[in-house]
């Protein structure tokens, strides 16, 4: 098995090459690095850096934009939260397994955090149990986290229940963390909304939604829940497809509304190719919002 982190890194390298080197790093840094007053050094500006961090005098002297770097006040803890129930073993809108997209997203985020010297922990699980891996630094640790997610989410896993994992976080985590949640199209419910508001009061939360497959598409599906086949020709009937699309719009609006009210920035991805762009957009939105 290829190292999962290796895949993440190569994906990030491609992205960095395509866009601008360090862009994601810049975004991450501007969003999460606490600014201390202890000046550290200057470095070259990369797109995504906070404009107010520019050292204008140094820039004028140097001829190219320079950014002031400060010594970090504290090491941040990034807590990756994801669902490893059997729902994640199903297909995403892009045709991949949702789990693979989740691993990619968690890997990118974890690697960004690692590059910035932050420590990364994991809370994942299903309806039966919640696993918590304490935050540590290091690529090996990150690789272990990704492997754990990759191995846990199978069609034979228990049902998905992200509320349990979020509750676990609310119950056991002390201190202010950065929560990075990767979930599928979760439905908004009042208890979940309460729980998210409760978590948001303590933590910074980023939410990445992995888009679920379109069940009305021309394909033969079976439910990961009970392995029962879906009658595709019924699902594809115009009336049913229209109703499904309407219900999906309502559901998406409900989730967006719930997250917005809780003060959580949400992004969404359909395939692992989109992960980095989606994450970038998510960080960007979060920076603007916060």
């Amino acid at each position: 098995m290829t190292r999962l982190l290796y895949r993440v890194k190569s994906r990030m390298a491609i992205f960095a090459h395509r866009k601008a080197r360090g862009m994601l790093d810049g975004e991450y840094g501007s969003v999460f690095r606490g600014r201390s007053l202890d000046f550290d050094d200057l470095r070259a500006y990369v797109p995504g850096d906070e404009v107010r961090d520019l050292d204008w005098k140094a820039t004028a002297r140097h001829g190219s934009p320079l950014i002031k770097r400060y010594v970090a006040v504290r090491r941040q803890t990034v807590l990756l939260i994801t669902d490893t129930g059997r729902n994640m073993a199903a297909e995403a809108a892009g045709g991949e397994t949702k789990k693979d997209i989740a691993v990619m997203a968690l890997g990118v985020m974890g690697y960004l955090a690692h590059r910035h010297g932050d420590i990364v922990g994991l809370v994942c699980g299903d309806a039966d149990r919640t696993t918590s891996v304490p935050a540590k630094s290091g690529e090996a640790h990150l690789e272990r986290l990704l492997r754990h997610v990759h191995a846990s989410a199978t069609p034979d896993s228990a049902a998905s229940r992200l509320e349990d994992q979020l509750e676990h976080v609310a119950r056991t985590i002390k201190g202010r963390f950065l929560l990075f949640v990767v979930a599928d199209e979760i439905a908004a419910t009042p208890p979940l909304a309460r729980l998210l508001r409760r978590l948001r009061a303590q933590h910074e939360i980023l939410w990445l939604t992995v888009r679920d497959a379109q069940l009305t598409a021309e394909a033969r599906w079976y439910s990961v829940h009970d392995a029962s086949p879906l009658l595709g020709h019924l699902a594809g009937a115009p009336g049913v497809a229209a109703a499904y699309a309407r219900a999906e719009l309502v559901r998406d609006a409900g989730r967006k509304d719930m997250l917005r009210r809780a003060g959580i920035t949400e992004g969404s991805v359909s395939e692992s190719q989109d992960v980095i762009a989606g994450l970038f957009a998510l960080l960007e939105r979060h920076r603007r919002a916060g």
Partner: protein, 324 residues
């Protein structure tokens, strides 16, 4: 009947159904996993579509089962058991009618009755011979009842003197004399096919037995011929005007001739009595034949085949509705 086919076919169908419905291990091998399927399946629109689909599926299943069952039944060649009196439908009847003017109304009644009886004939053969001085075979023994009925209707019209039908009786006067009863009866008796078939033979002879002329055969001789050929003669005599129990009176002669051949004699008081007497003759005939009732198996595939056709149609419609 091949009833053994039914359990065999049912067992085969059962095995096929079991093989088709057995929960397969690789059922979902070519399907793709999907989460939150209930978000689709709980939609009222999907539920309605599913109900429709299930309804048609049930119709198709029932039609398929009916089709299988009925074709299986048809393949087993079902038979209906009928008890029949074999001789009942195994008769040859020759109507032997005296065409002299005095007999017209009685003849008309006789042919009318037989025209109606012919509608119910199954296997009987009927023939018509009319005679006066010469005997004319109008039609020989036949089981073409439609033709017989036409001819009998024509005969009735002729006997009733309907205008334009007198030609029907042409040729019956070409001999010398008139009402040559013995010759007429002999002609009728000889109109049965030669040889001894396994069919009962009877002659319905309607005559007043007023002979005027010189017949080749007397009534007595003709009756003997009938007896010899196992032909029963049923005599109908309109206007039995016998005077005393003299054996030479026409009525008594006729009775003697009929009874000699094993038949019966009926005097007609008026032509309207003919249907009753013909029935009596039929009844006598039936008892005289006395064939033991026999069970006859006839194939009756109509019902299963009609059912199979119907369920095939229903199946076609249902599968058209069920097509993905």
């Amino acid at each position: 009947m091949s009833w053994w086919l039914v359990p065999l076919g049912a067992a085969t169908a059962g095995v096929a159904a079991w093989a088709a419905l057995r929960p397969g291990r690789r059922n979902n091998a070519r399907r793709r996993p999907a989460a939150h399927v209930e978000r689709l399946t709980q939609l009222p629109e999907y539920q309605a579509a599913l109900r429709r689909y299930r309804r048609w599926l049930a119709v198709a299943t029932i039609a398929c089962g009916t089709l299988l069952a009925s074709t299986l039944l048809a393949a087993a060649r079902p038979v209906g058991i009928d008890t029949i009196n074999p001789e009942q439908h195994n008769r040859d009847i020759v109507l032997c009618l005296d065409a002299s003017g005095s007999m017209s109304s009685a003849d008309a009644e006789v042919v009318d009755v037989f025209a109606r009886l012919a509608a119910d004939f199954k296997g009987e053969r009927i023939g018509l011979t009319i005679f006066d001085s010469t005997a004319i075979q109008v039609f020989p023994l036949t089981d073409d009842y439609e033709y017989a009925r036409d001819q009998l209707t024509l005969a009735r019209d002729a006997f009733n003197g309907k205008p334009g039908t007198s030609g029907f009786l042409d040729g019956t006067w070409s001999g010398r004399g008139s009402s040559l009863i013995g010759d007429g009866l002999a002609s009728c008796v000889t109109s049965f096919p030669p040889g001894r078939e396994q069919r009962s033979r009877s002659v319905v002879l309607a005559t007043d037995n007023f002979v005027s002329g010189d017949p080749i055969m007397t009534l007595q001789e003709a009756a003997g011929l009938a007896k010899e050929r196992a032909v029963r003669v049923y005599a109908l005599h309109p206007g039995d005007l016998d005077y005393g129990p003299d054996a030479h009176q026409p009525g008594a002669q006729l009775r003697a001739a009929a009874e000699l051949s094993g038949g019966a004699y009926h005097a007609l008081d008026n032509p309207e009595a003919v249907p009753g007497i013909v029935q009596a003759v039929q009844a006598t005939e039936a008892t005289a034949l006395g064939g033991a009732p026999r069970a006859v198996a006839t194939e009756v595939p109509d019902l299963p085949l009609a059912l199979a056709l119907l369920s095939g149609l229903v199946l076609a419609i249902a599968s058209w509705r069920l097509r993905p």
